[in-house]
């Protein structure tokens, strides 16, 4: 028994099965990420002043990763087009390129970006101790300009004892009154060698840049993590379609392979599309 319309199209819908299937699946993905983004927006508009961090991510790296995903989207359509033109070798190379892009993206994310966050340290200062750390926070100037106060001091944790943290400050806290720091994209700038001593008594909560740090990092790790899982899934599927088994399918029925590539390509583009929103939302704003 064979299921109809796996390869050819059904006349009244003009579509083959998997095409409908993948679009339905993507529809559910739209709902999934739609809900996550909605949650992100609600948490953000609800955030108490000073608790929503800005500019903590590494923009150049993020930009690079965005470019890599876009390139991979191009290579995957080209791979599909090559199949349509029945050029298996070309297909094979484009597929390899796509897979490599996916792997690079994941590597950058998991081996570089995330660990970099884990090493970073932030201490929220208690409201009544803010004045004491004015020289790191620059709140007087910010108040004048009508900006949200800063309530957190960040950097690398140099050392700590029972009473104090010693923090090698980030540029924002090292030079808080510098107007450039009002819209900081500072992680590419290295941590300064200026060391601040913060008394534990004055600290409301101190944490590394982990999901526990704030609603912002919670969303960041959740959404990029889930997105990363999608990338991983896509890469695995592509690897399967690139291995020698695909050659056999190609020889049996090239259109079948082309359909499979189209379907997984649609998924891949969707993953790219999600990233197109993740990138500005988390990195730039």
């Amino acid at each position: 028994m064979e299921i109809p319309y796996t390869i050819s199209t059904r006349p009244d819908t003009g579509l083959w099965n998997a095409k409908i299937g993948i679009w339905l699946f993507l529809a559910s993905e739209v709902m999934l990420f739609g809900a996550l983004f909605s949650a992100y927006i609600f948490l953000r508009i609800d955030a108490a002043p000073g608790t929503w961090p800005h500019g903590l991510l590494n923009v150049p790296v993020g930009t690079g990763n965005t470019a890599i995903l876009i390139v991979s989207s191009v290579t995957v359509v080209l791979a599909w087009a090559a199949l349509k033109m029945r050029r298996y070798r070309v297909y094979w190379w484009y597929m390899l390129a796509t897979i490599s892009c996916g792997v690079i993206f994941l590597t950058v994310k998991l081996a570089y970006e995330w660990p970099q966050k884990f090493e970073h340290f932030g201490a929220y200062i208690k409201p009544d101790a803010l004045g004491k750390y004015e020289k790191y926070l620059g709140n007087e100037r910010r108040a004048e300009k009508g900006m949200e106060p800063r309530i957190e001091i960040t950097g690398h944790l140099h050392s700590q004892n029972a009473k104090e943290y010693e923090v090698a400050l980030d540029p924002v806290n090292a030079d808080p009154d510098n107007p450039v720091m009002d819209r900081p994209h500072f992680l590419p700038l290295p941590v300064t060698d200026k060391i601040a001593t913060i008394e534990k008594e004055d600290v409301e909560r101190a944490t590394m840049f982990l999901p526990t740090h704030s609603a912002y990092f919670a969303s960041y790790f959740t959404i990029t993590g889930l997105h990363g899982l999608h990338v991983l899934g896509g890469v695995l599927v592509f690897i399967y379609m690139w291995l020698p088994v695909s050659k056999r399918l190609y020889q049996r029925n090239p259109e079948h392979l082309a359909n499979r590539v189209e379907v997984s390509g649609l998924f891949w583009h969707f993953v790219d599309l999600i990233w197109i929103f993740v990138f500005p939302l988390f990195y730039l704003l």
């Binding site: 579509l15 679009w23 339905l24 809900a35 965005t66 087009a81 819209r183 969707f270 500005p280 704003l285």
Partner: protein, 114 residues
């Protein structure tokens, strides 16, 4: 062209079809380049202060939407798809927006304050 003719094993017809595919390839490359440019634009714009953070967010989201639109329309062939797919997507779009918009409404429509 996204939905190829039913596979006929007639090589001549296929040749024609492959030629059609070839023409699209340039389009894909151009869209790819466009997307890369737009990425650079988004980053650049984020350094510009448009007055309020809301304005910055709005502009960045606008660019992102354009990019997403290009991916969907060209790479995902949505520019020329069958009606059925559009229908599915329209309902989905409606429901995500409903989800977002109704929660937003409920969020702010509280007696006195929350």
């Amino acid at each position: 062209m996204n939905n190829p003719p039913d596979v006929t094993q007639d090589p001549k017809e296929y040749e024609e079809y492959a030629h059609g595919v070839q023409k699209h390839v340039r389009g894909y490359l151009m869209v790819g380049a466009l997307l890369l440019t737009f990425t650079a634009v988004t980053v650049a714009l984020s350094y510009v202060d448009f007055g309020t953070r809301k304005a910055n967010i709005g502009i960045a989201m606008l660019v992102a939407t354009l990019k997403a639109g290009a991916v969907a329309a060209v790479f995902m062939h949505l520019a020329a798809e069958k009606r059925l797919i559009y229908r599915i997507l329209i309902f989905t779009g409606f429901f995500v927006l409903g989800l977002f918009w109704l929660i937003l409404l409920a969020w702010y429509d509280y007696p006195i304050f929350r």
